[in-house]
């Protein structure tokens, strides 16, 4: 039983698929071999059936092509108004995606999945509209012909000779919950065509001569049948896997498709996809950027991105690596990713180039070890465009002039040393000159140096002198060898320099990424992260950028500054919104909303999209290279992770704070209700007895009750005072009014204020000889001393000594209040400063345990500290220190005495 269960990986895969499907609409594709087989008709019939079952069916867009029996089926179904788009004076009718999303029916019918939307629509292609619909939970019925399937595109072209421009990615077939093949035999289809049921007669005639030839139709039908069968097969496998039915597990194939800038590379990608899907294998599309690649014209390099995008659309993982040798990089990736099969296009260049440059295929096959190398052909296509002159930096005339300097120098050296040097030595001197030229100058000038060197050697040092004529045939060999050596030395040297330059650039990018990650790690605030990311991305892309973060899961708010300029416009914000909602990139350079100047990339964290990163790539002069785009994506991914980390922490601390506040409130309520009510109970009780006339009290009893009232009232007053102080300090409403005050004045006034309560203790003061001034708020510091003295009196026996000591320390005044009581229970020296904390030692002492908290708050507000400890000789010691900041003012006291 156990062995039949799917492996954990399979179960995960399945779960992911289920998850992707849940909450989404179902897509059903009516699939046919050619126009006219009756897909729309079948779709409408199926829709009517659904409607009869009670479904909310709406026609999004139907192309009836004037076919009468189809039009009949449309009747009675709700039709969504189409959107009119004006494009260069022509009004185009388009499917209204927003209308459909607002209407949100149960099922919407959208004909012609492969249709290309009019410019100005949200998406380039209708299939993207459909994806958005099903992501929004709307079921979609649609139609598709086999020639529009991306991976079959080249096959269809080979069969029919017609290259279909409008293709849909194969992945949409995987997304579809159901594919219904609408089949009609070629003969029946041709009959229908003749009867004018497909096209109007004139069109039908032309169609039959071109596309609708019987041979074509048979082939297309076969393709459609096979594609459907492939899918049925896949479903069967899936079903079996689900049921745990033993299945000879397909060997875990992994395919790598090497992509380059040549046009046929697209066909190689499609073959790769076909291979991957028939093997159920994951596949990677790999492009290698070499220094040579960098020298290609921009539009040629762009084709690599197109091919990679195509592969991605077909379900591949895209990858760009940089390296010197294409074969090495491909093999390295193959080893890293456990590739079992490398797919590569057939070479199109002449054979001699392989002799000089080495053959990529040969190198791959030799280095591939266990990996299978598949070489596939593409269609013949136009020759690779010549390197444009402008693509490489044109060498300036001055550089050509400079190239002659080492040649002239070599000539001079050889001339001077003529008597000792023979021809071989002179050739060497010239080669040195070529090397020097190549190490400093671009290609053209260094080649000139090589040729000029040979010419100079011939002219000056080979008899007959001062003539290019060569006397001895032997010298010709010398010249040829020297020319070859010179050319290859200069070429190599230039190449090395260019590679070093490329490496430096790569190094810079890696360093930027590393620097950003490191800066992220020290930031703990979302705005700071955004600022860091923006700085780096702006440097990297040389364009403006913005980070928009979703606050409370809704509003997109710019971080680290305002969304100004371009990013503030309605259009750009709409793109950002779309990206945030769909978690997919859109805008400049993508298939969605490409009219935007900005590309918006979703900031995807572990828990979903948290925001959007916008980069105004459209403002750049040149399109970004694929590797730059990839680096940008990495930057954005890093930013997303860093932001999420910070946001999560903020959320956690907010939650913690909420709990803390709640706990404090509960403490406060219980303490306040207890500590306020207790004295109130005594007061009302005593007052009640005093008012009672029936029980006559003697003078002594009356006095006792009245004293209770007085004492309890004072206790209440102290509690309320502390509560108020604390509230004021904590709410930040308390202004500290610092003045230079002699510390002994505050000590004396505190003792004076407490004279009654301290009457049972001996209060000793140890104050410095000199008048010690400290910058304090005297009212508050007196309160600190009052609270400490009160505490001392409360927790120490009567007639014991309470000592107040003040002394100057390094940049501070230190005050100590000592008692001879029991001291503080061990380990509670810190806790006693907490709100509502009271030493639990069995004694019932009055007060809400706020006194020390107030002290601590006041000292913090002064920038000071307070600690508690037990004295060695017994009793508690509270020590607080007040920093002395600023210059102590000089008070010039006079010495002259009053009496003369």
């Amino acid at each position: 039983m156990d062995e039949r269960r799917p492996t954990p990986e399979e179960m995960l895969e399945r779960a992911a698929l289920e998850e992707a499907r849940s909450g989404r609409g179902r897509l059903k594709i009516f699939f046919g071999a050619a126009p006219g087989v009756g897909k729309t008709y079948a779709m409408l019939e199926a829709a009517r059936a659904r409607k009869r079952q009670g479904a909310d069916v709406v026609i999004g867009l139907i192309e009836t092509h004037g076919r009468r029996d189809t039009e009949v089926l449309v009747e009675g179904l709700e039709i969504l108004p189409s959107k009119s788009i004006d494009h260069r004076g022509v009004t185009l009718r388009e499917f209204d995606l927003d209308g459909a999303l607002v209407r949100h029916p149960g099922l919407v019918l959208v004909d012609e999945l492969a249709h290309t939307n009019a410019p100005g629509s949200r998406h380039l292609r209708r299939w993207q509209d459909v994806i958005e619909l099903i992501e929004d939970g709307v079921d979609v019925y649609t139609t598709l012909n086999v020639q529009h399937v991306e991976s079959l595109n080249d096959v269809v072209a080979q069969i029919t000779g017609v290259h279909v421009q409008e293709t849909v990615p194969d992945s949409i077939l995987d997304v579809a919950a159901e594919i219904e093949l609408v089949d009609l035999s070629p003969d029946d289809l041709l009959d229908r065509l003749r009867e004018g049921k497909v096209y109007i007669p004139a069109q039908a005639e032309r169609a039959m001569r071109n596309f609708f030839r019987k041979g074509n139709l048979i082939a297309l039908r076969e393709l459609a049948l096979r594609k459907t069968a492939e899918r049925v097969d896949a479903q069967a496998v899936e079903w079996k896997r689900e049921q745990g039915i033993e299945e000879p597990l397909p060997t875990r194939e992994r395919i790598l498709v090497a992509v380059n800038h040549r046009q046929q590379s697209a066909d190689v990608v499609r073959s790769g996809r076909r291979m991957a899907s028939s093997l159920h294998a994951p596949w990677i599309a790999l492009a290698v950027e070499t220094p040579a690649f960098d020298r290609l014209p921009e539009e040629v390099r762009d084709r690599v991105s197109e091919h990679l995008a195509l592969a991605e659309g077909l379900g591949a993982e895209r990858l760009v690596v940089r390296g010197e040798r294409v074969s090495d990089e491909i093999l390295a990736v193959a080893r890293e990713r456990n590739i079992t099969r490398i797919v590569i296009g057939k070479p199109t260049h002449a054979r001699w180039r392989d002799w000089i440059r080495g053959s990529l295929i040969d190198e791959l096959v030799r280095g591939s070890a266990g990996v299978e190398v598949v070489v596939t052909s593409g269609e013949k296509s136009e020759r690779e465009p010549k390197r444009l002159a402008g693509s490489r930096r044109r060498s300036r005339p001055a550089e050509y002039a400079w190239a002659l300097v080492p040649v002239l120098s070599s000539t001079l050296i050889c001339w001077v040393t003529r008597p000792i040097f023979n021809l071989a030595d002179q050739a060497m001197v010239y080669l040195l000159g070529v090397l020097i030229a190549a190490s400093a100058l671009p290609r053209g000038p260094s080649l000139l140096a090589a040729v000029a060197s040979v010419a100079a050697l011939d002219f000056c040092f080979v008899p007959p002198y001062f003539s290019f004529a060569v006397g001895d045939l032997r010298y010709v060999i010398t010249f040829v060898v020297m020319l070859i050596v010179g050319l290859s030395v200069s070429r190599r040297t230039v190449l090395i320099r260019e590679q070093a330059e490329a490496a430096r650039q790569r190094e810079r990018r890696t360093a930027a990424l590393f620097a950003m990650s490191r800066e992220f790690s020290v930031e703990d605030e979302a705005n700071a992260i955004a600022r860091t990311a923006l700085t780096h991305v702006r440097d990297l892309t040389e364009s403006d950028a913005v980070v928009l973060l979703a606050r409370d899961g809704k509003e997109l708010v710019p971080l680290a500054g305002e969304a100004t300029g371009l990013f503030g416009t309605q259009r750009e914000l709409a793109v950002a919104r779309w990206v945030f909602e769909h978690g997919r990139p859109a805008g400049y350079g993508t298939d969605t909303l490409p009219a935007s100047e900005t590309v918006f990339l979703p900031l995807v964290g572990a828990a979903g999209t948290i925001g959007v990163f916008g980069v105004a790539l459209g403002q750049r002069k040149a399109d970004p290279s694929p590797s730059l785009r990839q680096l940008l994506e990495t930057f954005v991914a890093q930013t997303a992770l860093a932001l999420e980390r910070v946001l999560l922490r903020e959320e956690t601390s907010r939650a913690k704070l909420a709990i803390e506040t709640e706990r404090l409130r509960n403490d406060l309520l219980s303490t306040v209700s207890h500590d306020l009510r207790t004295p109130l109970a005594s007061i009302t009780g005593a007052a009640g007895v005093l008012l009672e006339k029936s029980a006559p009290l003697d003078e002594e009893e009356r006095r006792e009750l009245l004293e209770t009232v007085k004492e309890e009232s004072e206790r209440l007053n102290r509690l309320v005072g502390n509560l108020l102080d604390l509230t004021r300090i904590e709410s930040g409403n308390l202004r500290i009014r610092k003045e230079w005050v002699p510390i002994e004045e505050v000590v004396h006034s505190a003792i004076g204020r407490l004279s009654e309560r301290l009457a049972d203790h001996r209060v000793l003061t140890e104050l410095p000889e000199a008048v010690l001034l400290a910058p304090i708020d005297p009212v508050l510091i007196e309160q600190v001393l009052v609270n400490l003295l009160e505490n001392a009196a409360k927790y120490s026996p009567t007639r014991s000594a309470i000592t107040v000591r003040a002394a100057a320390a390094q940049d501070a005044v230190v005050c100590e209040v000592m008692d001879e009581g029991r001291g503080i229970p061990h380990g509670e020296e810190q806790k006693i400063f907490e709100k509502f904390y009271r030493v639990a030692d069995g004694r019932r002492a009055e007060g809400a345990g706020l006194g020390l908290t107030v002290c601590q708050a006041i000292l913090r507000a002064h920038g000071g500290t307070i600690q508690a400890e037990n004295r060695r000789e017994g009793g508690a010691l509270f020590r607080f220190s007040l920093p002395i900041t600023g210059e102590t003012p000089l008070v010039d006291t006079e010495w002259e005495e009053v009496r003369s």
């Binding site: 004021r728 230079w740 002699p742």
Partner: protein, 235 residues
């Protein structure tokens, strides 16, 4: 008017809290004072000019105008003693009222004995402030100041003071029993154009105390009213 006694000093209470008014009324009438009661500041100003009481007890937290305004309006025409009643934490309001001419203050909650003492001091000063009264020697516990000879003794022993210390002492002695704010002291001792800071005053006060108060004892002559000023209080 709800005066009971016919000949006792007339006190105007300006206070919006009925409970406080009741407590003051019963206790002060029992001590032979005649009472007037005003609930708002405006009413207080009006009654002060109408009945010219011998002393005003003024609450600082009135609902209509603040106590400072009431003090100013009364001081425009009268030197009648004003005793300010305030809650803790209102130090600056207290100081403002005192600097505007209020004579003394009491912090709520206060004891009745304290209130009576303040009223007595205020009345004494008001009566003594009449012109022509020669200043006799000042005595306060062990401290004795002979104004004509400028001799200061503590328990018979002569104490040498600097001119500023002496001036400080005589100023406080003249107001004995009443609080004198920092500002008032600075103005009286250093003159109205003084530019000195409070710390000068504080340092001189510390010196004065060291010279005049018995060391090591808790018996104090000079009481610090933190955040307000000083009071010379005789035991």
């Amino acid at each position: 008017m709800n005066a009971r006694s016919v000949d006792g000093p007339l006190i105007l209470i300006v206070e919006d809290e009925p409970q406080v008014r009741r407590f003051l009324r019963t206790s002060l009438q029992a001590h032979g004072y005649r009472l007037l009661e005003a609930v708002t500041g405006a009413e207080g100003i009006r009654m002060a000019s109408q009945y010219v009481p011998e002393i005003v007890l003024l609450d600082l937290g009135l609902p209509d105008v603040d106590g400072l305004e009431v003090t100013r309006r009364i001081r425009e025409w009268s030197r009648m003693p004003i005793l300010v009643l305030s809650a803790r934490g209102q130090e600056s309001a207290k100081v403002d009222a005192l600097d505007a001419g209020a004579d003394d203050y009491l912090t709520k909650p206060f004891g009745f004995a304290e209130l009576l003492a303040r009223i007595r001091v205020a009345l004494r000063h008001a009566r003594r402030a009449e012109p022509g009264t020669d200043e006799p020697d000042f005595e306060c516990g062990p401290l004795r100041v002979e104004f004509d000879t400028r001799r200061v003794t503590v328990a018979g022993a002569e104490v040498h003071l600097t001119p500023i210390e002496y001036k400080l002492l005589t100023t406080l002695a003249r107001h004995s029993g009443r609080v004198v704010t920092h500002k008032q002291l600075l103005q009286e001792v250093w003159g109205p154009q003084n530019t000195q800071d409070n710390q000068y005053l504080r340092v001189y006060m510390t010196h004065l105390r060291r010279k005049l108060e018995p060391a090591g004892s808790s018996a104090r002559i000079f009481k610090t009213e933190v955040g307000v000023g000083y009071r010379l209080e005789c035991p």
